[in-house]
């Protein structure tokens, strides 16, 4: 129950509710309308970017669970994305099972692999954990490339479009709805996770793991669980990528992709589900935007064409550095400041 002087709750249900003021519900409704209208008004290029951003958001949420909420740095997402994608693709193409089964298999296997590669987290922290996950990324990718019998090795795996009620799901328009539905489910699941005891245990591990251990939080169990849950989300993103792009190649899952995901959650805001989504959208819209700008200016400034990819790369690096220097808590914090300003105006605090 939100009033001008603060939040007053009269029942437990109200305390636990996902949204607590009218303004928040209004914003959520607006978001819903925007999402529903978007595929009808966006040009094809941007619709595609929207779909890719939606999938990336799911992966970013997963990574944020691990890094933002549990404090375990991971540079190995590319590997887990690959596991999710290849598993789903192989289940659908080789075993002829329906796509949802493939996706569930992708999530499950990615979670298992994630739990396994999370074992070093029990002994390592910070930088060393980052390097261990980097090593795991390279190892997973190497296995994918060389286990030709199962993964097709270095050649790409072609996946037929999934069929819904007999119609092949091929266009960006159709996929948009599927991706938004999965994304909403993922966001809801993640938000709910942090209303439970498991979520609080994760946060305790991030803040003060030695103290948490002292008060009885089972570090081993929760760290491995964090890796498993996070990799499950990332595996879902990978499986969706496989069916959306209809080709699975190992080059889609290199270290650069892992770094991109970490950039997404840093720019978006660590420890925030909404932040993961903002970050994912931002990091995908930025290169696409520069691309479109470059193409538009190309005839007037021919020098741009050769330099464009370098400019995109420079923008990527610059954005990360500037966000970290000036707003380390990311877009979520920027948005929070906007909301606070509006809420408290004309007062400052």
């Amino acid at each position: 129950m939100g009033t001008a002087t603060g939040l007053y709750h009269r029942s437990y249900a109200e305390v636990l509710a996902l949204r607590q003021t009218r303004a928040e519900y209004a914003r959520l409704a607006l978001l819903g309308i925007a999402l529903a209208v978007a595929p009808f008004v966006l040009p094809p290029v941007w619709l595609r970017v929207a779909c890719q951003a939606g999938i990336a958001a799911i992966g970013a949420i997963g990574l944020n669970i691990l890094t933002g909420y549990t404090g375990q740095i991971s540079l190995g997402q590319g590997g887990f994305l690959a596991v999710g994608a290849y598993t789903s693709a192989i289940v659908v193409t080789r075993m002829d099972l329906p796509t949802p089964v493939g996706i569930v298999a992708g999530i499950a296997l990615a979670a298992l692999v994630g739990a396994f590669f999370g074992l070093p987290a029990l002994r390592l922290k910070g930088l060393y954990l980052a390097i261990a996950t980097l090593a795991s990324q390279e190892i997973v990718l190497w296995v994918v490339r060389n286990w030709s019998a199962v993964t097709g090795g270095a050649s790409s795996l072609l996946v037929p479009a999934p069929r819904v009620l007999g119609f092949p799901l091929r266009s960006d328009f159709a996929w948009y709805w599927v991706i938004v539905a999965c994304g909403a489910a993922a966001a809801l699941a993640a938000t709910n996770l942090f209303r439970t005891g498991i979520g609080r245990a994760f946060v305790a591990i991030r803040d003060q793991d030695i103290a948490a251990q002292a008060i009885g939080v089972d570090i081993v169990r929760y760290k491995v669980l964090a890796f498993a849950v996070s990799s499950g989300f990332v595996g879902l993103a990978g499986a969706l990528t496989a069916h959306y792009t209809r080709t699975v190649q190992w080059e889609q899952f290199t270290l650069d992709v892992s770094v991109l995901y970490v950039a997404m959650i840093i720019v978006g805001g660590l420890g925030s589900v909404a932040g993961s989504i903002y970050g994912a959208v931002f990091m995908l819209v930025l290169p696409a935007g520069i691309q479109q700008l470059g193409t538009a200016l190309r005839d007037d400034f021919p020098i741009i064409t050769e330099k464009l990819p370098a400019l995109q790369h420079a923008a990527f690096g610059l954005v990360i550095m500037l966000f970290l220097i000036f707003e380390p808590r990311g877009l979520a914090r920027c948005w929070q400041r906007v909301k606070d300003y509006a809420r408290l105006w004309p007062f400052r605090y």
């Binding site: 070093p120 930088l127 090593a135 190892i139 790369h313 420079a314 690096g317 550095m321 970290l324």
Partner: protein, 290 residues
């Protein structure tokens, strides 16, 4: 026997280059506790600066290297002042990511200035081979081993004996205590980045001699991690040993096992080391407190 010598020299040469590249990492980590993911780019920039000095301005190569080192110092100190200083006290993820962002940015700058086509690097190390105990060994690799050994020993001495070196180790150990003792932490940070840049220029010039100068030099940077993890992030002698081990391991795996396994072996080593002796062979264990 001849083959064994050939393979060993090759492995040691690769290892020396890796150790030189890793030196920059270790210097920065020793003084500031930061891992600089952009070190590979520093190597590339060092190589390109030397190239520009010789091919564009037609300077004699020793002068070009010295000027490149001076430019490298400027770059290193500015990076420390404008990129790393604001992030003092932030969590590890933030510092790691800012250096990754820096790496992407520097790579783009290199591409913008020098383009992506591989360039003709002036070879001041003579090409050609000599025969060593029946094995034909390329001269440039022997020179690489020698130069790397000299530089690494010099830096090792610097850290152990000179005042600045000891000051840097003090700052790495406990910043507040160092400040109390009158050591300027700011100057130490700047010095460490400057030294890392200098070693990057030297390493870059050496690598470019053997491999040619192109954007790929930075990709080298990835294999440096196994070297520093094996040797210990804050130990220079560890870097020497780690470099030698990884270089030899890769070459011998390529010879006796094949199948592209040599690219993944260093990373398996990383995982094994991290699970058993996380601080490496020579690194210092850190004690954590609540």
């Amino acid at each position: 026997m001849a083959e064994l010598i050939q393979l060993s020299i090759n492995g040691l040469a690769n290892g020396s280059i890796l150790a030189l590249a890793a030196l920059g990492f270790v210097i920065i980590y020793k003084a500031t506790g930061v891992i600089n993911f952009a070190q590979g780019q520093f190597l590339a920039i060092g190589a390109y600066l030397v190239y520009t000095g010789v091919q564009v301005f037609h300077l004699p190569w020793p002068l070009a290297i010295l000027l490149a080192m001076a430019a490298g110092v400027v770059i290193g100190v500015s990076v420390e002042r404008f990129v790393l200083r604001p992030l003092v006290g932030e969590q590890a993820v933030a510092v790691i990511m800012v250096t990754i962002g820096l790496a992407a940015f520097l790579q783009a700058v290199v591409q913008l200035i020098w383009g992506t086509t591989p360039l003709e690097f002036p070879r001041f190390i003579p090409a050609g081979t000599i025969t060593l105990a029946g094995a034909t060994v390329p001269v440039d690799r022997l020179v690489a081993i020698a130069v790397a050994a000299v530089l690494l020993t010099a830096f090792s001495w610097f850290f152990r004996r000179s005042r600045s070196g000891i000051a840097m180790r003090a700052v790495a150990d406990d910043q507040q205590a160092a400040l109390v003792m009158g050591i300027s932490v700011r100057r130490v940070f700047a010095l460490s980045w400057a030294l890392a840049a200098v070693s990057a220029v030297a390493g870059g010039a050496l690598v470019a001699n053997i491999l040619g100068v192109s954007g790929d030099l930075a990709a080298f940077g990835l294999v440096v991690f196994p070297v520093v993890i094996l040797g210990g992030l804050d130990s220079i002698s560890g870097t020497i040993v780690g470099g030698a081990v990884i270089g030899l391991l890769m070459t011998f795996t390529a010879r006796y096992v094949g199948g592209g396994l040599q690219t993944v072996v260093p990373f398996v080593v990383v995982v094994l080391v991290l699970l058993t002796k996380p601080y490496g062979l020579f690194g210092q264990a850190r004690i954590e407190r609540v």
